[in-house]
């Protein structure tokens, strides 16, 4: 069976699994990384949103064989460590996670790791484009929340974009 090697949350991991198994299942079922959630398996609900080389993507729609040895995968578990300690918040977390706590966003919490990963990527993207975050940017977020926490998600992203 092919050996798959890549960087996951700062550590190099190797796992024996066929190339076509989507990364989400490699993370969840084989490596025990449970932050990325299953919500649809077809890249529409975005509950599994994670980062590849710092950009948001959905591992449910990427065969593990497409992940190269040098690719860095970051899940919610590894998000705080993408920043030096002094840039983390009072709970030792990424500023976006801290904003989420401050606004008490989560209800059931199932989609929230994906929401936070998407929010971080959105803020970075808007910055790359040299713009200020707008309400229209928030409207483009495709992550679904069936508890309907959208109001607080919007507040938290605005706050997180100021602090990150």
């Amino acid at each position: 069976m092919p050996r798959q090697t890549f960087k996951l949350n700062g550590q190099t991991v190797t796992v024996d699994v066929p190339d076509n198994v989507r990364l989400l299942w490699v993370l969840r079922d084989l490596l025990g990384v449970k932050g990325p959630k299953y919500g649809c398996g077809i890249n529409v609900c975005k509950a599994c949103t994670s980062h590849i080389n710092g950009k948001a993507f959905n591992p449910c729609a990427v065969p593990v064989g497409e992940i190269g040895r040098g690719d860095e995968i970051t899940t919610i578990e590894g998000l705080p460590d993408t920043l030096p300690a002094k840039k983390r918040g009072p709970n030792g977390l990424h500023p976006m996670q801290e904003a989420w706590l401050d606004r008490d966003v989560a209800q059931c919490g199932y989609c929230q790791p994906g929401q936070i990963m998407a929010a971080v990527a959105l803020v970075r993207k808007v910055r790359r484009e040299g713009r200020a975050l707008s309400a229209s940017d928030l409207d483009t977020i495709r992550n679904i929340c069936r508890c309907g926490t959208y109001t607080r998600i919007r507040e938290a992203i605005a706050e997180g974009s100021r602090t990150m």
Partner: protein, 796 residues
């Protein structure tokens, strides 16, 4: 936790017991009424054990819920669904115990289910308050199925806090009293002079001792009965203050565990291949051996709901499910469409009775249809099951775990005692987890395979074969004359709502005691009668329910009948106002007969600047709702102009946009206003989806919607940019329900705003149901779609 001997538990009724067979709980006490704020002395127990355990004796707390003589006849006004649930809980709720641990924390296993509604947080707050302990030192877990609790383990109808508030307080207060008594010995002072704060007891001389140090000293060798006085509400420093969720940190770090996150040895990923028509059944598998030989696949087994596969990863389950070649029997609605089901409902409708009112009265008649909707949460029906020859263990998000335990035992051919059912936090419920479809199926599959399984429904399964809010119609006839409304008749006709999860049993337990002859009606009639109310002075008011057609997988979707009933009623109220040449807000204000409803209505009208001038194609809408001991009102602004409706967003229904919402809620005592606000915000998004975008389409015997790109729940591009929730101050010392209270008024206000903005009278909901499909249906065979492989093309 050890079983606790209880004097009033000697004749524990069995599960099938009707109310009239059960000894009545202790009758009214000399002090206090149903909503007494003043009553604060209660009996309870310090329980024998190694560390301090305190319990409330709910038998002694019992007070009848309905005491006042009603002035008007609508049943929900004097005795609502929550009274029925609370009363049915009384004889067993006394098994509620709070434990103080040697590390200074307090722990409590809540016999309810947490699915995001915030009951673990509000419960921890109640304990922290009464025990004078920091919130962070209270640990609330979810109790497994405890048959000794009998019926008191159902999470539904927003009843958790209503029914558990006082017993939890009593148990915590008794624990604090025992700590104070132990501290008095230790510190050589009298209890009265000691002060407890933040888990430390301090004497006047400054000496102190912590709860942790006292936990074993305060323990009792034997159970002893004690009397305790609860804090008065003016002393509250935790309850009533906005607090963040106790599980927030776990949620934002990915550490919060749901059923599919559990690691149970050997419980490999498992999925089902389901029939192409709704509720079809498998005949036989034609290629079992071939599928068993696929990469990662370990087992294939036929069960009554489909063909199960167990593999090393869910990805390999998906491959195997798609490869299975199965012969199926058709389900009961094979070949049928929405409109066939609607035609059946129309046949079941009963004519509104003639009231023989003044012949000069004018009449408004209206007729609405509400299509099937999905209560599928983000976390699909999932469960872990480990079934052995002599015992079974199941883990799942369950709102009726005792009934689940009974049914699973029955299906496995085991005694109830051989089945352990653990309650896991659910990733949303919206009524879905009142049922245990995933848990029951997981147990059957585990038994058939002889292996532990981690069963997960694919999203397509959850969307198409999961529970739905039933299709229904609502007809209204209202008459008016000379500035008065003489009558308001509403008749609701619905595909059957399934209550077989045990809510029915709870109600049965009290059926004989229900007022107004409700005891003779069926469960649906009872729930309808106990939840619905028209809080307006409209002369002769009737609301009736007819249920027909039991072929669908239905359930009590968040707020059950109320969203549809309110939409129909509030739209007609706008029509009445227009016919009588009155402003919709002023009209409501004039006819409302409940002060709490009037207060929330006035609040949203003022804060939301009702009546402000708005451009053509946009409008405000206003509506109210009264239920679950609470009153709510909602004002929305909606933009139905083409530029908004026709926004181009990939795989989306944009539609009219609600641009602003002002929502006022009076639940009585709001334990955690911040959590209550969150529940209202969520309910608002539900209401918007129900009115504008989300429904299931039945075509040729199956629901077309297979995922979130087909079923259009509110998304960021639909959600209101401006939302203000006002939690009303309340004199009441009693909490009301929160989990569902946001949906009905929001749904109705959006419907009213849409009607006003478009100058139409919508007759079906959601308003886009008959538009051309906004998606291409995914295939039904194989029943689940393959995961894409192009994910790296969409990075950002």
């Amino acid at each position: 936790m050890a079983a606790i001997p209880r004097h009033d538990q000697q004749d524990q009724p069995d599960q099938t017991l009707g109310g009239h067979d059960r000894p009545d709980p202790v009758g009214p006490l000399p002090t206090g009424g149903p909503h007494s704020v003043g009553r604060r002395r209660f009996l309870g127990y310090v329980l024998g054990g190694a560390t301090l355990m305190a319990a409330a004796d709910l038998g002694m707390l019992a007070e009848p819920a309905a005491a006042a003589v009603p002035t008007l006849p609508q049943p929900a006004e004097l005795y609502d669904l929550n009274d029925a649930l609370t009363d049915s809980c009384r004889p067993t709720a006394n098994l509620i115990t709070v434990t103080v641990n040697e590390d200074g924390t307090a722990s409590f296993a809540l016999p309810r289910s947490e699915n995001g509604q915030g009951v673990t947080t509000s419960t921890a707050m109640i304990i922290a308050e009464e025990l004078d302990l920091p919130l962070s030192k209270v640990e609330v877990t979810l109790a497994p199925a405890r048959p000794e609790l009998l019926l008191n383990q159902l999470t539904g109808a927003s009843n958790t806090t209503i029914s558990t508030y006082t017993p939890i307080r009593v148990a915590a207060a008794i624990a604090k009293m025992a700590l104070l008594e132990a501290a008095a010995i230790q510190l050589g002072d009298t209890v009265e002079l000691l002060k407890s704060k933040d888990g430390v007891i301090t004497a006047p001389d400054g000496s102190s001792v912590t709860y942790g140090e006292l936990a074993t000293k305060a323990a009792s060798l034997v159970d002893r009965e004690v009397e305790v006085e609860l804090k008065s509400t003016d002393e509250f420093t935790v309850v009533g203050t906005p607090r963040n969720r106790v599980d927030a940190l776990a949620a934002v770090t990915g550490a919060k565990e749901f059923a599919t996150d559990l690691d149970v040895p050997g419980a490999l990923p498992t999925m089902l291949c389901r029939p192409p028509t709704l509720n079809g059944t498998p005949k036989r598998v034609l290629n079992q051996q071939q599928v068993e030989g696929m990469p990662g696949v370990r087992n294939v087994a036929l069960v009554d709901t489909g063909v199960a596969v167990r593999a090393l990863t869910f990805g390999q389950c998906i491959d195997a499910v798609r490869a299975l070649d199965v012969e199926w029997n058709d389900g009961p609605v094979a070949g049928m469409d929405d409109e066939d089901i609607l035609a059946n409902l129309r046949k079941a409708e009963v004519p509104l009775p003639s009231l023989g009112l003044n012949p000069l009265a004018k009449t408004i008649e209206a007729d609405f249809a509400f299509y099937f909707r999905s209560n599928s949460p983000m976390d699909t029906n999932s469960a872990v099951a480990d079934v052995r020859s002599d015992r079974a263990t199941v883990w799942a998000g369950l709102k009726s775990p005792i009934v689940a335990q009974q049914r699973i035992a029955e299906a496995l051919g085991m005694a109830e005692g051989q089945v352990t059912v653990n309650v896991v936090q659910g990733g949303g419920s919206f009524g879905r987890r009142l049922f245990f479809d995933g848990a029951l199926e997981a147990a059957k599959v585990s038994q058939a395979m002889g292996e532990p399984v981690k069963l997960m429904w694919h999203r397509a399964d959850d969307a198409r074969a999961g529970r739905t809010h039933p299709m229904c119609t609502s007809r209204i006839r209202a008459t008016y004359l000379a500035g008065q409304v003489l009558s308001f008749q509403q008749s609701h006709t619905s595909v059957e709502t399934d209550y077989r999860h045990g809510l029915g049993e709870v109600l049965t337990a009290r059926a004989a005691d229900l007022p107004a002859g409700l005891g003779n009606q069926g469960f649906a009639q009872t729930v309808f009668g106990l939840t619905q109310e028209i809080p307006y002075d409209f002369g002769v008011v009737t609301q009736t329910l007819v249920e027909a057609d039991e072929r669908f997988n239905t359930g009590s979707m968040r707020n059950i009948y109320s969203p549809d009933v309110r939409v129909a009623a509030e739209l007609v109220i706008d029509q009445l106002a227009a016919a009588m040449r009155k402003d919709p807000y002023r009209f409501r204000q004039e006819f409302i007969r409940n002060e709490r409803v009037r207060a929330v209505l006035d609040k949203v009208a003022t804060v939301g600047n009702w009546g402000r001038s708005m451009p053509a194609g946009t409008a405000q809408g206003i509506a109210i709702h009264k239920e679950y001991k609470g009153a709510s009102a909602c004002l929305v602004e909606l933009d139905a102009r083409p530029g908004t409706v026709d926004r181009d967003i990939r795989d989306a229904v944009t539609g009219p946009r609600v641009t602003k919402v002002v929502f006022a809620i009076d639940v009585g005592l709001a334990i955690n206003p911040r959590g209550l606000e969150a529940q209202m915000q969520g309910g608002i998004n539900d209401g918007i989806a129900l009115a504008l975008t989300s429904s299931l389409h039945l075509r040729d015997g199956h629901f077309l919607e297979g995922s979130w790109d087909n079923y259009f729940y509110t998304r960021q591009w639909n959600t209101p940019p401006e939302v203000e929730v006002i939690v009303m101050p309340s004199e009441s010392g009693q909490p009301g329900g929160a989990g569902e209270a946001g949906v009905a008024a929001a749904n109705a206000a959006v419907a009213c705003a849409f009607a006003r903005a478009t100058r139409t009278n919508p007759t079906y909901f959601p308003i886009n149901h008959k538009d051309p499909l906004a998606f291409t249906p995914k295939p039904f065979s194989p029943p689940i779609p393959q995961s894409p492989v192009n994910g790296l093309r969409f990075t950002y």
